[in-house]
Subunit: 185 residues, 2 copies
Amino acid sequence: MQGEPELCVLRLGHRPGRDDRMTTHVGLTARALGADRVLFPDNASQSVETVRDITERFGGPFEVEQSDAQRATIRNWEGLVVHLTMYGERIQDVEDDIRAVHAEEPMLVVVGGEKVPFEVYDHADWNVGVTNQPHSEVAGLAVFLDRLHDGRELDREWEGGDRRVVPTETGKQVVDPEEFEGDEE
Amino acid sequence: MQGEPELCVLRLGHRPGRDDRMTTHVGLTARALGADRVLFPDNASQSVETVRDITERFGGPFEVEQSDAQRATIRNWEGLVVHLTMYGERIQDVEDDIRAVHAEEPMLVVVGGEKVPFEVYDHADWNVGVTNQPHSEVAGLAVFLDRLHDGRELDREWEGGDRRVVPTETGKQVVDPEEFEGDEE
């Protein structure tokens, strides 16, 4: 988040068509829950477009990038690398240590699709399991980010965009950002 | 979770093909993060199969059911109904109240796909937003369940199944359940 060392989410691997929605949801979850940037594979152009479109409409800052050299990005990352995997150490055992290191260093969070190569497990500073059960890379990322930030990401403010959703008991309320900020005073 | 009032996740709406993976991930996330049961629409047979298969292999208890009368299930639920939506009240503002009611009553958590009918907003005891940003119903469900349980779901034990993943720093370790339980003593 702003004013803190960078937090970047890397979506490793993508099968166009089959993975489009999962990859998009990884990007949108990263944006909504306090990451600064998402790195998509170069064949995930549709997800890039969707996440950029949401950022334009609902605000940022949030960056979306594409790369054809994801493994090199992981190898050369200057800072902390965390790989989310159901085979990893239990998040409840390692989250405090990760939070402490990230207070000083940029962090790359690697979210794999199918068949993550062993070098990623080997290179990561932490392999972390949000449960050791098979579920969803999107769910794992969401719980990881919420715990990492101790919930602070839920209070972040957004810049730009042309709409804000106002929390409401029943129904839907969407307003202009200027109106929304007026309401808060 | 076991020994507590029932927690059931209802996946509302499903477009076969397009939604298969999202619906499956809703079910797997419900299972992994402490729900007792998932209710899928009657056209989501592929997701039913996948979640049942994972439960057979990795353990339970966890129930998977199909229904052609989801709106009636919501209307007639005897207990608390929570609907997750980006338009709802902020989770950080309502989670304590929801947790307190659920300590006494079964809870139905409704996770919508596209175009949730207004009657669902109207019938829910709480409409809850995990952020008021567009992201992922899987991510929202995951954060909701983790917060509801105060993280206790990460320590739950599994019965049955033919394998357990052992948390490990690097690589993958999968063992027979009897061996796993032996390790814990």
